[in-house]
Subunit: 334 residues, 2 copies
């Protein structure tokens, strides 16, 4: 009787396990928006190698760190970086409080609807725009303004919310890596506070796993209220050789997988793939003028030269959006 009960219980548990197995195999394709291509195989092959216990390439879960650039890698970056679009909109919004901007560059150019002229001033102009839109206010006030923009502003070409301009195949890669025990991080040239406002909801990446460019900040008790105040000076520019440095500071160990799309990601991928054991370096190549944009060597944004020239010899995966991706953006609009 006891034996029968035990066998019956085991049968019931086995049935449960079978049902669970069926559910997992019916959702077996973790990358449904990827064509069956060498790029896709390089990604899944790497994940299988580092997660197979007993494999020479096995990596313990705590060391499964994957880093992703954002602009041009997880979401689009044309016709201008989306955070710049936020800055321009914010300048227009704040203009009534700043009559002097009508005659001061780069503000005058923004107000005249001439972003190219505004950006012609280079880094100096950019820092002026950043200081005027990202500083002198509490972290909460900044978050409110940027969140408001993110939930209402529309992309000029597609009419989508900017957070709907993310790449469906990359969302799948993020989820696939996490399902395989990876911890996913953003390491972006974009603003760290700006990124954190949507990274958790859109990418499933919590604030503490977002690394980006930062402005200095101070802590003050203002009228009795403890406050983080964003300052107008640059703290850290998270681009190029800055990316491995930021990874070292924020993550404290070398990733085993890195995804980027421009030469600003070169050192991050170089640093990642130079470690021992199995490594994965991926560059997304924007070669799809029809569904997205086509640009590389001569682009003013997301310039890709070294990555194109050296990815083959370095064993990095060059993902072609046109041939490797079944769809680009989420939902039916694509």
């Amino acid at each position: 009787m006891a034996g029968t009960r035990r066998r019956t219980a085991i049968a019931a548990l086995a049935l449960g396990a079978l049902i669970a197995f069926a559910a997992s195999t019916s959702a077996a394709d973790p990358l449904p928006s990827w064509n069956d291509s060498p790029s896709r195989t390089a990604i899944t092959g790497f994940v299988e190698r580092v997660t197979r216990e007993g494999s020479a390439d096995f990596v313990v879960p705590s060391e499964r760190i994957a880093v992703f650039d954002n602009d041009g890698t997880l979401w689009a970056e044309q016709p201008i970086y989306f955070q710049l679009a936020f800055m321009f909109d914010r300048i227009r919004e704040l203009a009534p409080e700043h009559p002097e901007w009508k005659t001061q560059e780069p503000f005058a150019a923004v107000l005249a609807g001439d972003p190219a002229r505004a950006l012609a001033g280079g880094n100096e102009a950019l820092m002026k725009l950043a200081a005027a839109t990202h500083a002198g206010i509490s972290s909460e006030a900044f978050d409110d303004a940027a969140r408001q923009w993110l939930t209402t502003a529309r992309h000029p070409k597609t009419g989508r919310l900017y957070t709907e301009m993310v790449y469906q195949p990359m969302l799948e890669v993020l989820a696939y890596l996490r399902a395989n025990g990876f911890k996913t991080f953003i390491v972006s040239g974009g603003g760290i506070d700006f990124l954190r406002l949507f990274a958790e909801e859109v990418y499933g990446i919590p604030p503490e796993q977002v690394v980006g460019t930062s402005m200095q900040a101070s802590y003050e008790v203002r009228d009795g209220v403890p406050t983080i105040v964003k300052q107008p000076e640059l703290d850290f520019l998270d681009d190029g050789a800055g990316k491995p440095v930021a990874i070292h500071l924020h993550i404290g160990r070398r990733p085993i997988a890195a995804f980027g799309n421009s030469d600003g990601d070169f050192q991050m991928i170089e640093w990642t793939t130079a470690g021992p054991g199995a490594r994965l370096g991926v560059l997304v190549h924007h070669d799809d003028a029809e569904r997205e944009w086509a640009y590389d060597r001569d682009s003013h944004i997301g310039r890709l030269v070294r990555g194109l020239d050296e990815s083959a010899e370095r064993g990095w995966v060059l993902v072609g959006m046109k041939d490797d991706w079944k769809s680009v953006f989420p939902s039916k609009r694509d």
Copy 2:
């Protein structure tokens, strides 16, 4: 028959659940090294409130962020900060390569075995010692030297490894919080790279959840090898008002619980407890001259003045090591 099978299976599952429950209740006391005191009740009461679904104070797991100072909060800090002991030992180790140190302060004082004189030079002396021991080398070379020290150097009073000078009751708090869905972080005035070498093994806190004081760093390809090189300039001093700023930069959201022991933790606890909903601020008070050390207002290390004066009115928990803790350090030696 099918009904019988189902009932048998359910009974078997229920039995399993009972066994699991018994196992969890037999390990019911998550804080065995704490006396049954108001401090202990304040900690467990807070955790119960924020984790009880439907409670007005319920906090979703992703927002359950707890931050811990290290020196004097998780491990001891007498007679000098342990990282200073590492610096002094390292100076002696490197001295043969630097004959000029025999006549240069603060190195001469260190080599003469006079740490007080070495530290009399204040921050300037400290930065010279840090630059000589923590900079000009690759991150890997630094890690090797510090790891070697951590696994061999002994505390002058107890003869223990420094990593055995951690507080058993605080190890229990860390585990208890994590078992209740918290993510635990270190936010320390100590060096971020130094802390990361033992935080995962000793505290269960991975490198990416360690925040500390940092030196600047650069990324270079040295003889074909991508390398992070530690630089002699201070990057960020993670103390006092710097702590909320570092929390904002590294974690990106306000913690709901903060643990410290000195006025260098005041702003971190102030920032944490000023948020809405249930909050927990804890100060460890070193009042146990027999089992540890007794110091507060007049100490050169871990000075605690504002914390003592204001903790009651601010609703912060003042943990007395002498009365609140059954034991101080792990194992039988206590």
